[in-house]
Symmetry: C2
Subunit: 418 residues, 2 copies
């Protein structure tokens, strides 16, 4: 099979189906989501059997335990996919929403209408549930999508794709609105991320190396984040109980997630009061501490942090700590080393809070809350297709709105320009 | 001089100045705009003298009349730049605007704050007024910018840059917030559009070939449009007086602009009534008509349009005309051949208007109004840095908001994730 030609064919079909989906009624799109959920529930046995083939192949190919776990499609996980579909069906339809429609001095009315992006290419690794989640979000936002899962999940993804196709057909929508790439040839990815005429945006989901590779290769815009080097700054005017609770939660609630804190910044004037308490609690949880010189003098168990530490997303029970003179140094450190994902200040001081919110240049900026809240569900987006740290288009958790754009609409009564 | 190193230096300075500008008070930014306006007015003689050098060199180098006209800096044009600055100073400051701040079930408040993009690289051709317009928009939106004008305007641009620097200094803002590239070496453009660490977005302003070249070379996102192949569709239920007025205005108000109509679509049932009237008026204005077979049978003076015509932005007194069976064929033709700039329907039928607005996939879609209204001033944006036909980020005329992004803000009271 000629992979490029195959991908072009998928692209052409997606573009055509995208036009249909973009004008589909909200009710019909919701019906499709419900029918897909029903098909998944009804075919749970088939899904588990197909998934077993992937798991066996994975074991034979020496896949590590974490990857095998991500790949595993348990009845509980199927139930979760079904729930997710129901939730997305319940979200308001963003497509066609008109805002800011107002009269201009010439007499025309000008406003903006929310419109689908068109065709979304999604490239992801082992988790088969992404196939459903991503398809559902794209569909609800009026987009067609082309899904390229990991080769290790190909049987699972094909079985899920069959359920999606069934649901779309039952709702009277074109099945080619959601297409799963059937080949595991790596060249398919290269074709997908460069088919400008058929694909409008690429969303990679997976590890940093996958995302870097795709960003380097893509000629189509990519919605992405690479790192989550998140900071908490404990200000001189912090409530220390809140500071301890937040610093602990941000680091230890889950280690392997992008919104976990990686560096703690502490104002010099409160370091002596707060760091020993925190050090004890981190020690109890087995968190390794790497600090600046002053930190190490306050925490005997801490090792010296190197320049590399300030740049590092550990995704592990390791934390770097820096004592700073105050908010200026904290903001400066953050705007230098942060990956622009999420930063929080702990303070009771209104002016410091106001400055931090304005001056920290990250996609989520928080006052007196744990960085772990940076998440589409917690923000009320209903679901997220990913988190973007880029400046253009969507920034922060990307939900349905991030999968749409705005066009201008103008209403007149025969108006011509003078 | 090592051009790459020079550009890196500008980039580094812009990044630093961008941080300052991003947190500058609205009052201070407005003061800078007013001071720049004053400096331009006070130095009008110098500007004209420096511009004369460019004009002489242009003549010596055989620049065509249109380019020389664009290059010319007359007292009236200087006055217009001054006015533009005053208008931008009067616009509301988008930076820091907080929207959708609401409580979540967990107790945190989540909202979005409008933030500057950072550093904007602007690449343009002969018009020296772009130096001021672009700098002013970037400044007001809290961005630093690097301006790369045409080599043919280098003396004019340097003189304008001196006025901008003076205005920034008088307002106490860093002069490096607006930097004009001092070298005419073409390599400077290549460096500018690939300095990801220092530049966040590129805005090219000029002809299609300039924009194509920059888009191909850039690794940084580009806000742009290439073509303006705009359509007017006269529906079966059109008011024919409005149809004639709009079709005439959209084509003949100005020929060389991107929002001029290039193709007229007419519903078959009204073609006989409206095309002969239009043909007479177009003939009176010297517009050449190229039509489909049916059009040619109704308009004896029309020549047959080829497939190429439907793809062509004439920017000239030429119009292609196609008779279509109805709105389905019209929308289909538009979504196939349009450059997604601006399309209009003329109709009194509510349902057709509603469908056209939803289904036409262009950055501006109009009902009963001339495509010539697609413009930042007409839309009430106050000014525009360009028009984007892309789907991501800004779509349509790009004003201050298009030069900003949104970050999420979260306010809590010591909230941690459960």
């Amino acid at each position: 099979m000629d992979v490029t030609r195959y991908m072009q064919q998928l692209g052409k079909q997606a573009r055509q189906a995208g036009r249909e989906i973009s004008k589909a009624d909200t009710g019909r799109k919701n019906l499709a989501l419900v029918k897909i959920a029903e098909a998944l529930a009804a075919n749970a046995d088939t899904l588990i059997a197909e998934n077993a083939k992937d798991l066996q192949a994975g074991q034979a190919n020496g896949l590590d335990a974490a990857s095998l776990d991500r790949l595993d499609l348990t009845p509980a996980r199927i139930e979760k996919m079904v729930e997710g579909l129901t939730q997305i069906a319940a979200l308001p339809d963003p497509v066609g929403e008109i805002t800011n429609l107002s009269y201009r001095p010439t007499g025309i009315q000008v406003g903006q209408m929310r419109v689908p992006l068109g065709v979304i290419g999604i490239i992801y690794e082992s988790r088969p549930n992404v196939t459903v989640d991503a398809a559902a979000l794209c569909l609800k936002a009026g987009n067609a999508c082309i899904l390229r899962g990991g080769s290790e999940a190909i049987h699972s993804n094909r079985a899920i794709a069959a359920c999606i196709a069934q649901g779309l057909a039952e709702a009277g929508l074109p099945q080619q609105a959601v297409q799963v790439v059937e080949t595991t040839d790596r060249a398919a990815v290269g074709a997908l991320v460069t088919m400008k005429e058929f694909v409008d945006v690429i969303v990679p989901r997976g590890g940093k190396s996958l995302i870097e590779r795709i960003s380097a290769e893509a000629t189509i815009p990519v919605i992405k984040h690479l790192d989550g080097i998140c900071h908490v700054y404990i200000d001189a005017k912090a409530d220390l109980d809140k500071a301890v609770a937040i610093a602990l939660n941000a680091k230890t609630h889950r280690y392997g997630v992008c919104n976990a804190m990686e560096t703690l910044l502490v104002a010099e004037s409160v370091a002596g009061a707060v760091l020993p308490i925190l050090a004890e609690q981190y020690a109890a949880k087995g968190v390794e501490l790497r600090g600046c010189l002053k930190t190490c003098s306050l925490i005997p168990g801490a090792v010296r942090a190197s320049e590399t530490d300030w740049h590092t997303e550990y995704l592990a029970p390791i934390l770097s700590i820096k004592i700073v003179s105050g908010i200026d140094e904290a903001i400066d450190h953050i705007n230098t080393y942060s990956s622009a994902h999420t930063e929080a200040i702990v303070t009771e001081d209104f002016t410091q809070a106001r400055r931090f919110l304005r001056e920290v240049d990250s996609s989520s900026v928080m006052v007196n809350a744990s960085t772990r809240f940076a998440d589409g569900f917690e923000y009320g987006l209903g679901a997220e297709i990913g988190i973007s740290t880029d400046k253009l288009h969507a920034r922060g958790p990307v939900g349905l709105h991030g999968l749409t754009s705005l066009k201008y609409i103008v209403l007149g009564d025969g108006h011509i320009r003078q």
